[in-house]
Symmetry: C2
Amino acid sequence: MRHAGFIAFPNVTQLDLTGPLQVLSRLPGWKTHVVASSLEPVPTDCGFALVPTQTFESCPPLDLVCVPGGFGVDDALCDGVTVPFLERAGARAQHATSVCTGAFLLGAAGLLRGRRATTHWAYREALSRVGAVPVDARVVRDGPILTGGGVTAGIDFGLALAAELAGREVAERIQLALEYDPAPPFHAGRPEQAPEAVRAEVRATFGRRRAVFEARLAAALEALGPRG
Amino acid sequence: MRHAGFIAFPNVTQLDLTGPLQVLSRLPGWKTHVVASSLEPVPTDCGFALVPTQTFESCPPLDLVCVPGGFGVDDALCDGVTVPFLERAGARAQHATSVCTGAFLLGAAGLLRGRRATTHWAYREALSRVGAVPVDARVVRDGPILTGGGVTAGIDFGLALAAELAGREVAERIQLALEYDPAPPFHAGRPEQAPEAVRAEVRATFGRRRAVFEARLAAALEALGPRG
């Protein structure tokens, strides 16, 4: 039995975590865990809390670690436990992975240096801050590192990962069981597709939160420096 | 402020709930709730539990109710509290909705009679058992009833609903923020797309669980009968 750990922290974007977990929890031969600093319920960005199944201390050695994103990444970068756990787990795991802005937690643990990687479109250029090479793609593989784009990319990412871990036919079975033949009612999922007014509003929303993210990322990278 | 309630029950398919909740929790003027028989953590099919925010008793009057699916529907059909809650909530709400096999809980509450509706592909024909007209589509609207197909259809369903409740531009903003420009790595999300071996295996998996579902649905419909 191999072990996959999904990291949880307050204000995680729920779908970042559930998208790939829904896929990988159906993978034969693998056990999935939701891992956090304690077993206390973790509030998500969807208004409800989820209950971790393991703590950073109790967690079995992970073959795969997956880090979701969300606005909660800002605080998780500097909580003193999440990044140190990822340094330890990432050094051991065969696969260190992220969805959305979870990439910056991997990056703060030093795991993206020199790697091609992706994240949410609004943060992509910032990947260079953690030494990564930003790539405009929904799923990016570079050696042991697999990164997914923003939020919903986690489902595509999960299926790509399932195929790598258990073969294409297993991934296709999961895809069919999840009826994953997406049909978005609108064509606005990427900045270059969305109407100008929509793009401007969403950019402004992310922009208002950017200063805090930048400050926390700088602090996390300063802490990493001497070990890097 | 309007209120949207997402129903939780043991062994719910996590993504059925999180897909539309991730979309609708970002809708201006709406408050979302996760509603269950008690505030005890509810185990999901992904190995972790989620903490409801309201009980069937404490829940404010709902303008919208959304019922996710999963294998846990079998037991929820006959737990004595979920269907009665849906009868009450469905009679009041402007919108009674479901994702995946959650449609059968709506149906057991008498809400799908004479309505065009959809559900997970492997269960679609069974919609006639609850008096609905099965439709092969990812999202189906019939008056106050909006139903989505299997699991991942909940995201398309959520965006369609967001547009109806708050306008297309708001839905597009949410789509862009969630980077919803899906790119499945394989072409196997519907039975007619999947390779024969994949289709046969997934059909067999659902087939093994079908007898229990049929028995519980029959029992639930018998209970509904006199009130219907």
